[in-house]
């Protein structure tokens, strides 16, 4: 029984870490522009698929990873420049539709550039499962957890200690004040998209050896990342991580102890329950509404 519980927790934490990375991407862009970027999931897809292609062409894995993240970052910047910036000032709903259009466009291009099949990426350091407390964990899962932790620590340092990070935070709190203080808010926006895309791509690359990747893998992962971001409090970094881990664990426990068919439903019901009690999520700011 404990062995089962441990297995479920390990599974949950692994997938939860991926949701956390995707959720961080949502949070970053939301903070910078109040846009919910529905194309976030496609960054995840681009990261995984690009790495697979580059590795198949013969590049060593580390180089392929770096190039894939760079490619996704470029796509993120292009998205900001060509789709979001021209529509600044439009209503929230319009911006949502634009990002939805972008996600459809990216998927359409992906299926032309690559194909519609599933692809496997070889695990970074082997596939022999490691025994832990009666359950097993894959080495790749350790990579997922390790890298996510590293990312969270780095981002905390970046936003807390560096001038660039503080500028981004300032712009998200009050755009006008930040501009007056000399912050280049256009650059901040571009930077947020770039960073968000890089995070998404990283998530896609980390998880590809475990779950396989294909041109439409971004849809579900994007959705779950979004849910995690809301659960944790949209816009909060800590919230994104907490939301992601919670979602992953609830899913795994639901599948294991209640019903695997309904596990997604269970996760969403819990999400709804949390929102009813705390509409702004775990760590979201209790909004004060301006009249």
């Amino acid at each position: 029984m404990t062995a089962q519980l441990v297995q479920y927790l390990l599974t949950g934490v692994t997938i939860g870490a991926i949701y956390a990375l995707v959720a961080l991407g949502f949070a970053l862009i939301y903070n910078a522009s109040h846009v919910i970027n529905f194309a976030q999931g496609e960054f995840v897809m681009i990261g995984g698929m690009t790495t697979v292609s580059l590795v198949n062409l013969g590049l060593p894995l580390p180089l392929a990873i770096v190039l894939a993240v760079a490619a996704a970052t470029l796509v993120g910047l292009a998205l900001e420049k060509f789709a979001v910036e021209p529509a600044r000032g439009a209503s929230v709903v319009t911006l949502i539709i634009i990002t939805i259009g972008a996600s459809i466009f990216l998927r359409g291009v992906a299926q032309m550039v690559w194909d519609k099949k599933l692809h496997a990426l070889r695990p970074f350091t082997g596939e022999e499962p490691i025994a832990v407390l009666g359950a097993t964990i894959l080495p790749q899962s350790l990579w997922v957890l390790g890298v996510t932790l590293l990312v969270v620590v780095t981002l905390t340092w970046f936003f807390g200690r560096t001038l660039a990070g503080k500028a981004i935070l300032a712009a998200s709190h009050n755009r006008l004040a930040a501009q007056l203080a000399g912050v280049n808010v256009r650059l901040v926006l571009a930077l947020s998209f770039a960073l968000s895309a890089a995070l998404g791509a990283l998530a896609g690359i980390l998880i590809a050896p475990i779950t396989l990747t294909s041109y439409d893998v971004g849809v579900m992962l994007g959705l779950k990342g979004f849910a995690a971001a809301i659960l944790g409090g949209m816009g909060s970094g800590i919230g994104a991580v907490a939301g992601g881990l919670t979602l992953g664990i609830v899913e795994a426990l639901g599948a294991g102890f209640v019903s695997s068919a309904y596990k997604d439903a269970i996760a969403f019901i819990i999400l709804l329950a949390v929102l009813f009690v705390r509409p702004s999520g775990f760590f979201g700011a209790r909004g004060a509404e301006r009249v």
Binding site: A3, Q4, Q7, Y8, T11, T14, I15, Q111, D115, K116, K117, L118, H119, A120, E127, P129, A135, T136, L138, I207, I210, T211, L212, S214, D216, V217, V219, M220, L221, A252, A255, G256, S259, S260, A261, K263, D264
Partner: protein
């Protein structure tokens, strides 16, 4: 009677009639035979629709290059329904009403096929489905045929093999798709007939990336001697990998839904020893020369792989069979008249396809039996025949 005049007039009339007739038939000969198709080329069933589309294009090209059918060229009109049954229905209506095709070969998924059945029955259009569930041909519908083996046949073939290995208690794990659910239902239904008890029945979700939770539950169920994964798409590959991760070692069976080299590539080393029922197409090269299917499967495999540089799959094979059944029926009927073609398809006997040897009848619109399925096992990273 001024006979010379009459006979001359008669001659002129006859000549004129003959001329008109040949002009008309030439005109008719110029009109291509239109083959309609609606396939799930994109979306969750792209695994099916993509090789089906490629096969139809390839075979029609070859047929045209060697003179066409009944002296006419073939033209393919195909649409992508992205796995959505509603879209499939609209496209089928388009094929019938707008494009006015002569026959429809398509319907990658059971949902899409069943949505279209009322349309083809009403319009009197011969329709050869490429989907798996037994409900498509049971009860028999006048205008609907199918080429893939049914999911019930897959269950039976697997159970027969299990009996030979003295397995009587198994665990079932399946996904959310129509294919999975249909096959799971069939397996649960026929298991008692083969004295097999299903002790555990787990399921996983669509985009699921890890099934170790479900497998752990199966592992802790006492007495399980084998695991049957009635699945299709990416799920089975992940299940196979997870299997090794949770440390299980009992015999594993997969469905014909993953009968392709892709599965072995995706599941990697973990796929060694997995068994599944499949068409002879997968082991085309190692078939003995005396096998009645050898020539057809080797020919199709070589054509497909050299043209598209990707591994052959049984789903493409079903499309090949569907198209060739229609074409052969047209040749035998000597026309593209829909009623005659339908009758000819129903009378198909001894047709050698990639899926088996087809013998249809008014009560059997599939024409295959259990011997059309071969039991295969993964050995050394390749599919091999189980003797």
């Amino acid at each position: 009677m001024p006979r010379p005049h009459l006979s001359r007039k008669l001659c002129a009339l006859a000549a004129g009639a003959a001329f008109a007739l040949s002009a008309a038939s030439t005109a008719l000969a110029q009109q291509p035979i239109r083959i309609g198709a609606f396939l799930s080329v994109t979306g969750p069933a792209a695994f099916l629709g993509d090789p089906e589309q490629k096969t139809l294009e390839m075979v029609i090209e070859r047929l045209n290059a060697s003179g066409g059918v009944l002296g006419r060229k073939l033209e393919l009109v195909s649409y992508d329904d992205s796995g959505d049954a509603e879209k499939a229905r609209t496209f089928a209506k388009r094929l019938i009403e707008q494009d006015k095709v002569d026959v429809i070969v398509g319907g990658s998924t059971t949902g899409a096929t069943m949505a279209v059945v009322p349309l083809v029955e009403h319009a009197g259009m011969p329709f050869i489905s490429l989907a798996g569930a037994v409900v498509i041909i049971e009860p028999v519908k006048k205008w609907v045929f199918k080429t893939p083996h049914t999911d019930r046949m897959a269950c039976e073939k697997i159970f027969v093999d299990m009996q030979s290995r003295r397995i009587s208690k198994i665990a079932l794990i399946s996904g959310p798709g129509g294919f999975d659910k249909s096959m799971r239902g069939q397996c649960l239904q026929v298991a008692p007939k083969y004295k097999i008890e299903v002790a555990a029945d787990e399921t996983y979700g669509g985009g699921d990336t890890d099934m170790s939770a479900q497998l752990t539950k199966i592992k802790s169920t006492p007495g399980v001697q084998a695991v049957l994964n009635a699945g299709f798409g990416q799920g089975p590959a992940i299940v196979t990998k997870n299997f090794r991760q949770v440390g299980m070692s009992v015999p594993r069976y997969q469905s014909h839904g993953v009968a392709s080299k892709e599965f072995i590539k995706l599941a990697g080393e973990a796929s060694e020893g997995v068994r599944l029922p499949a068409a002879a197409l997968l082991v085309a090269d190692t078939l003995p020369g005396s096998d009645p299917q050898k020539k057809v499967v080797v020919g199709y495999k070589n054509d497909f792989e050299s043209r598209y540089k990707q591994d052959v799959s049984t789903f493409g094979g079903h499309a090949y069979d569907g198209l060739m059944l229609a074409v052969e029926a047209m040749r035998r009927a000597g026309s593209t008249d829909k009623a005659r073609v339908r009758e000819a398809i129903e009378r198909t006997k001894g047709f050698v396809g990639t899926g088996g040897v087809v013998n249809m009848s008014a009560a059997d619109h599939l024409g295959l039996d259990l011997s059309a399925f071969r039991m295969l096992e993964v050995k050394g990273g390749n599919w091999t025949l189980v003797q």
